[in-house]
């Protein structure tokens, strides 16, 4: 299986008035061609930042990115902004969490959709609009011609997300990042969107990275899973292996916290008791230690390395699930 994207030792640091903040620490990730990889973690675990950093979408004077990202045989981290930009749309594309904020409120759907067609694929205006309508019907939007003339605020959340998917796939990308594509949507719509994404991935032969906090979503729609916590990958395996042989207490905690159906869209999940560690002033031991019911003294003192449990199953824990030492009640 050849690699679509390979991320090596990725670090992302933000300079803030409070000091340097390391949002992503030494992340290694392999995205095989044609596969669907899930990245799971709480809000603030660094999954979105890691993906945006991998794509090269983070900019600003306060961002520092280290490590290597190889996409489709090309080393993105060694390329100029211009060269990376040429990979966007046709190579990589992204779907954002909140379709409310990710569509430009002042531009018509047609303009936003046809823009990349015209600029990236060199279509003329008419052809681009015709193709836009096709794309809209591809994502199952009824009456696509009328939709082209609308503004985002005139659409429902599900419709917006479909529009965004249409934009993302418009230039036939090889790799699609879907950053919590369903979090902001109603539960009923969530399933439809995920179904649509899976079908599109199959039909268009894309690789996909599905970022989510919902292990349930991962189980149904991905081939590989990486669990992130406090900027690090803490567990990584094929989806089947992970659910069969869970190693991390954190992953288990995630699994136990199923999103509440009554929860309002956009609201942050506080799925596990306690808080993420302060990213500026990290504890020297395991980041999960204050919230882990299995924590030992060693967890406080030493940072666990990434260990291999076989079958490509990696985890970062001194006392993984199934370990035999005595646990606290």
């Amino acid at each position: 299986m050849n690699s679509m994207m390979s991320i090596g030792n990725l670090h992302v640091r933000f300079a803030t008035p409070f000091g340097s903040l390391e949002a992503v620490r030494s992340v290694d990730l392999e995205i095989p061609a044609g596969a669907s990889v899930g990245i799971v973690g709480e809000s603030g675990s660094g999954k979105t930042v890691a993906c945006r950093a991998a794509m090269g979408l983070l900019s600003g004077s306060n961002v520092q990115r280290d490590g290597t990202v190889v996409f489709d045989g090309k080393e993105l981290t060694a390329m100029t902004r211009e060269e990376v930009r040429n990979e966007f749309g046709t190579g990589m594309a992204m779907i954002f969490q909140d379709p409310m904020t990710a569509l430009n409120p002042v531009r018509r759907i047609g303009t936003q959709l046809s823009e990349s067609l015209r600029l990236r694929l060199g279509m003329d205006k008419k052809a681009a609009l015709a193709r836009s309508a096709e794309l809209l019907s591809l994502v199952r939007i009824p009456d696509p011609e009328a939709m082209l003339k609308k503004f985002p605020y005139q659409l429902s959340g599900g419709m917006r997300q479909r529009v965004m998917i249409a934009i993302a796939i418009s230039c036939n990308p090889k790799l699609l990042f879907a950053d919590e594509p369903t979090t902001a949507l109603d539960v009923t719509v969530q399933a439809q969107i995920l179904q649509l994404l899976s079908e599109l991935r199959r039909d268009l032969k894309m690789s996909m990275v599905l970022i989510t906090h919902d292990l349930g979503v991962v189980a149904n729609h991905t081939d590989f899973v990486a669990v992130m916590y406090a900027g690090e990958v803490v567990e990584q395996a094929t989806t089947a292996e992970l659910f069969a042989n869970m190693k991390m207490p954190y992953t288990q905690a995630l699994l136990n916290s199923i999103p509440n159906i009554e929860m309002k869209s956009g609201e942050r999940l506080q799925v596990i008791e306690g808080r993420l560690p302060n990213p500026v002033d990290r504890p020297k031991g395991c980041g999960f230690v204050t919230r882990c019911s299995y924590a030992q003294q060693k967890c406080h003192d030493e940072h666990p390395p990434l260990l291999d449990a076989g079958n490509g199953h990696l985890y970062r824990c001194w006392y993984p699930l199934g370990h035999t030492i005595a646990r606290k009640p």
Binding site: G60, R85, G89, T90, A93, T101, A102, L103, E115, A168
Partner: protein, 320 residues
């Protein structure tokens, strides 16, 4: 729905005009000395009584205002009182208003066309050296009063370099270049302060916009930074800027007194100042009313433009 919004907005603006003019007419009533005494310092009591009747001051605040308003809407803006006769305010405004309007429009165009690129650029480079240099330069500029800038311009461009005339106004009919030559320096001195405030407004809104997902989204489509900035980020960030520009209109029409004096571009600002210092309160009332009407008209225009620039505001209005 939309229609009712405009009706409501128009009514609101009309009320503004009434409020301002009524306030002015109250001011005339509140004066410690009778206006007739001020307007006719060497007149006899009979003459003053006659004048009081003529102006309508004997009718009480409401009656006076009604009379003034009735005359105002028929184009009679009242008189400026001399010791020997009167002069119609409308005549004064006929020369002063075009000057002020042109001065204001040019100033806005210059200020916006400098501030927009600067604001967009410094938001794009936020926190970097370019941004810091731009911000601090602008703050320094904004702390120099426009009359000081005017005098420095006069000294350098007019006296030392002899590039431009330092005085007088020429209408457009005297030739475009002739007109422009006399407008460049007044317009520049009025623009500098505005550039600073506009850039700052735009920069702040742009920074907020650039944090939005749809900007990252646009970038992820492989668009160039330039295109992302101008096509995607600028428009949604510009509503505050244009609203603020509209708010400045009145100030530029009537408040450019000192710059008008330095360059002898005597416009409405000077007329208003002359009316105040010459105690021509009737004339003042009409002049302020005119400024207010233009202010209201420009604000209405900006409302229309804002609706076009940011369709969300249309929606918001309907909900409001």
């Amino acid at each position: 729905m939309r229609g009712s919004f405009w009706v409501k907005r128009l009514a609101q603006l009309l009320i503004t005009v009434f409020g301002v003019t009524f306030g002015c007419s109250l001011l005339v009533q509140l004066l410690p000395v009778s206006p007739a005494e001020i307007l006719l310092p060497v007149g006899s009591p009979e003459e003053r009584d006659l004048l009081t009747k003529e102006i309508g001051l004997d009718r009480g605040p409401i009656g006076y205002y009604a009379k003034w308003l009735g005359e105002f809407v028929t184009g009679d803006f009242g008189d400026i009182y001399y010791s020997g006769g009167t002069e119609e305010v409308s005549g004064r405004l006929a020369t002063a208003l075009p000057r002020s309007l042109l001065l204001m429009i040019y100033t806005q165009i210059v200020a916006l066309s400098i501030a927009i690129p600067l604001g967009v650029w410094s938001a794009y480079r936020v926190g970097r050296r370019a941004d810091k240099v731009i911000s601090n330069t602008l703050f320094t500029m904004s702390s120099i009063p426009n009359f000081a800038i005017a005098l420095v311009l006069v000294l350098i461009v007019g006296v030392r370099l002899q590039w431009l005339p330092t005085l007088d106004y020429q209408p457009f009919s005297a030739g475009p270049w002739e007109h422009a030559k006399h407008m460049i320096m007044p317009v520049l001195s009025l623009s500098v302060g505005l550039v600073a405030s506009y850039t700052r407004l735009l920069r702040a809104d742009m920074i907020a916009t650039l944090r939005e997902d749809y900007i990252t989204m646009a970038a992820s489509k492989g668009l160039s930074d330039r295109r992302v900035l101008w096509r995607h980020a600028f428009r949604p960030s510009s509503v505050t800027l244009f609203t603020s520009a509209a708010l400045n209109m009145g100030g530029l029409i009537g408040g450019a007194i000192v710059v008008e004096t330095i360059f002898a571009t005597y416009g409405v600002g000077f007329e208003v100042f002359a009316a105040i210092s010459g105690r021509q309160y009737i004339a003042l009332q009409s002049m302020v009313a005119i400024i207010c009407i233009f202010y209201v008209l420009f604000n209405l225009t900006i409302d229309v433009i804002a609706g076009y620039v940011d369709p969300r505001t249309r929606d918001r209005r309907i909900n409001a």
